[in-house]
Symmetry: C2
Subunit: 116 residues, 2 copies
DNA sequence: TTGACAAATATCGGATTTCGATATATAATA
DNA sequence: TATTATATATCGAAATCCGATATTTGTCAA
């Protein structure tokens, strides 16, 4: 990431969220994440692919190979599709994120001298 | 923390924020953080003390020993006080947090099928 | 009075997560 | 034909946090 530690523990959630919207292949996820965050995040390939394998092992996604007749260069695309189990996990993590970020904000945005 | 990875990389910011409000000793920081986050965070001592030493090495805080005539048991309290350098660092990290969390939210809360 | 407990600080190794470097494959392009 | 862009993959290193453990010291109950 641009800032290394800022998405720690949340990348899987972000990836699953993108996949909830549509099936994607790895490289596409990297580009989409960068675009959709206005260049705040730029996930590296070395982070993404192990993470995707992990999501597959945990049955949060399943995969299929892309069209052979693709006219783009490079290795064959591998598409990822979120499972029901993945959706449930995503919902859980999203909820945790809301709770967590609001707790951070409740500490950051307390005025000096305010009663707590 | 209650949830292990959710505050990764942000604990120093939270601690400095508490110290911006008033000088505190370690144990007090743990209790205050728990209280002020409505029990969302519970920082462990094994996390806090190395972190405090690191903040001291970086000149983000300086320290002094508490009163000898304290009637509470336990080791002597060591108070931490935020420096100007620490305040500048806190401001920087807070800004990053705002940017980061809003980027996360912009990905999480996009409606299915919405144009991006 | 003495033993248990609570307050307070401290350190270490282990677990988790992410990144940079590197490798490989392949089609388009110059 | 060589280079570049696309695409997937793996590995070791770095950073951060926690659980377990240890130590000190004052209070309080038995």
């Amino acid at each position: 990431m641009g800032n290394k530690t800022l998405t720690y523990g949340n990348v899987d959630m972000l990836v699953l969220k993108l996949l909830e919207n549509q099936d994607m292949y790895g490289y596409q996820i990297i580009e989409q994440l960068e675009k959709q965050s206005q260049n705040v995040f730029s996930l590296s390939a070395g982070s993404l692919y192990p993470l995707l394998h992990n999501l597959e092992v945990k049955d949060y996604v399943d995969t299929y190979e892309g069209d052979n007749n693709s006219k783009t260069p490079g290795k064959k695309r591998k598409y990822y599709h979120i499972t029901e189990k993945g959706k449930a996990y995503l919902a859980e993590k999203s909820k945790e994120w809301e709770q967590y970020s609001s707790a951070i904000n409740s500490i950051l945005f307390v005025e000096k001298g305010a009663a707590i």
